[in-house]
Symmetry: C2
Amino acid sequence: MKAVNVGLLGLGTVGGGTLAVLHRNADEISRRAGREIRVAAAAVRDPAKRRPVDTGGLRLTTDPRDIVDDPGVDIVVELIGGDGAARQAVLRAIDNGKHLVTANKALIALHGNTIFEKAQQRGVMVAFEAAVAGGIPIIKLIREGLAANRIEYLAGIINGTCNYILTRMQEAGDGFDRVLREAQDLGYAEADPAFDIEGTDAAHKLTILASIAFGIPLQFERVHVQGITAVGAEDIAYARELGYRIKHLGLARRTADGIELRVHPTLIPERRLIASVGGVMNAILVRADALGPTLYYGAGAGAEPTASSVVADLVDVVRAITTDPENRVPHLAFQPGSLAALPLLSIEQVETAYYLRLTVVNRPGVLAAITRIFGDSDISIDTILQKGRGRPNENVTVIMLTQETRERNMNAATAALGKLDTVTGEIARIRLERLP
Amino acid sequence: MKAVNVGLLGLGTVGGGTLAVLHRNADEISRRAGREIRVAAAAVRDPAKRRPVDTGGLRLTTDPRDIVDDPGVDIVVELIGGDGAARQAVLRAIDNGKHLVTANKALIALHGNTIFEKAQQRGVMVAFEAAVAGGIPIIKLIREGLAANRIEYLAGIINGTCNYILTRMQEAGDGFDRVLREAQDLGYAEADPAFDIEGTDAAHKLTILASIAFGIPLQFERVHVQGITAVGAEDIAYARELGYRIKHLGLARRTADGIELRVHPTLIPERRLIASVGGVMNAILVRADALGPTLYYGAGAGAEPTASSVVADLVDVVRAITTDPENRVPHLAFQPGSLAALPLLSIEQVETAYYLRLTVVNRPGVLAAITRIFGDSDISIDTILQKGRGRPNENVTVIMLTQETRERNMNAATAALGKLDTVTGEIARIRLERLP
């Protein structure tokens, strides 16, 4: 069969990795795909720049339009990132009837609904496996592998930077700032790490996962987002003592009242497989009605792991080029006309268990006052642990684990606790998921 | 679009599960597939039998030919099992131009080469996701999700019965026979458990996995197969003491000299994620050149998990019915003309590390004699542990871990050890994989 011509937008880390993998594994890939996948051209900022990858035989241009307008290009691979120039190029490529492969989570999470609608009208495919969890084929898994199931729940370690930092804080006992600097030195965190450590990146990915899991439109703006900057080394240590790990998870859950979409640090039982996923690795736990729980683990970032997804998408697109569009895998797993307008819950409506760390004055009646507040807020307490044996009227630390309660109730309880004059300093509060 | 008509061969555990999932999730499934998947008929042994699943509206027959010859049936789902009647029915269905979905690992492992060739000639698909690791979409993952990669290595817990038995032996400290009976009582082991505990079932699955991973023909007869019946409770305990778990793995590895295909119990470091996979659960670790290591975990058996794979296959087949055959995913991941005749290594050529348990007479010079034998066989010793402090001339247990060595060398060393009059009783020998 005829070779397929690919045009790359961007030749940075992932672009270079894609080129390297396509070259190195050209034989294996074409033995699988049944035809050659050839990179014909790439749009780059600086064509004169020296690159670690062989660009021989590649037409380089500085203008993405030279790629997306080129009649010789069958598939455009967008690796520019962000939702500015990338968005323009993608929309124009679709207008020109090109199929697309992208690793751009922000683009899909923020503008996917429009992009997919346009692609649908134009009869082209937009593949985005590399946008979530790097090399783990989680989009394919959920869209196709679990097609028989009603998906109930998913929980993912989907930001490698956060997972690295929390893992190192746990292993070394160091504080957040120190470990962040270490992660930056190792290249696991950006110079400006906000996007990762404040949860935005994970929220983009969760938006996409939830959409294909539940058959709902992409709704990034409805995700409750919380980063890891407030997690203390002492919280990780106390959690561990109680048999838990603290992980930064993206969680999407179907409940009787609607869908929960949330990204936040949370305690999880250390016995769960996902609790052992350390360092920069990613893992997604999915619970589906027929299949039960499954877990998918692998590299969530990096040049070649991400390229692995880009190239797998290329093979899929190549195979489906001649397929009539209504028989292709729908972009959001469900046929475009059959996405459901399931209600999304606000965070106040969400029910979880909690971990709390209080600093209290060691005085008779303190615990009674605290527990009364929880009783009044209709919150059951699972565990109370007083740390240290402070002398009378000195400060001691109290750790509490609650049972499941609405965020609203916990807000009320926390406010009331803050008013007790025996509770001094900040109240640390982290959700706890048992991952049923 | 028009509904697709499915004919089931067999309505036992998996058949019932498939029917239940197709009924319960009919809405989700057709919203994904874009059309209804309808079970029109089923071949069963006893049409009058009461079944836990609603068979209303289903034409029941005792003759599989009524299904495979029925012009109204688009896809045949073979759930008879074994390679007798199932094989006849499958070949006849292909002759009749029907697409096939099967959960039958023995059939694919033993007769897949012929079946796929015939299917290829006739232009029909044979889908077999349910044949390996139950509900985990591992076939799809390797064939499609990892299409960019040169796969180097895979190691799978792919027999739930073996994993259950080894997990319980470890947790309870009980011996093999006792735990086997417990597994039988719980329905995790068959009344005749040989097929599982002697490794045949895992070897069938490994045959299939290796073929799609490396692009080689199915070669069940070349798999080195060893079950778990010789694993002692004491070996599990000693392994644990040294930081290892004993798991029954299917291993396929690409080496410079050829492909290793082996199924056997093995020590693995307890820190590896796969070491924590307990009970009847399955998990497959895959190492690929671009992606690195990934792990896939889930239920390896059971009515609905297996049905999850059967129905996912149905959706895939439905989508690809109108695709020109050369653009469909090849049965063995690589285009039929491009399977490679890679050499397979005999077990004597395989290199692994080893765990050994010896009973020796507590006498000066015993360890010197033992270590000399290893030196003579060119085997490096990592760890020697003498258990207990037997009095002079009493028996004590010696545990040894070796570095990687060829099976051939270890056979020589074991034979020489057996000839020492200070080594009494059987020598327990289990491979050790560091899972790089």
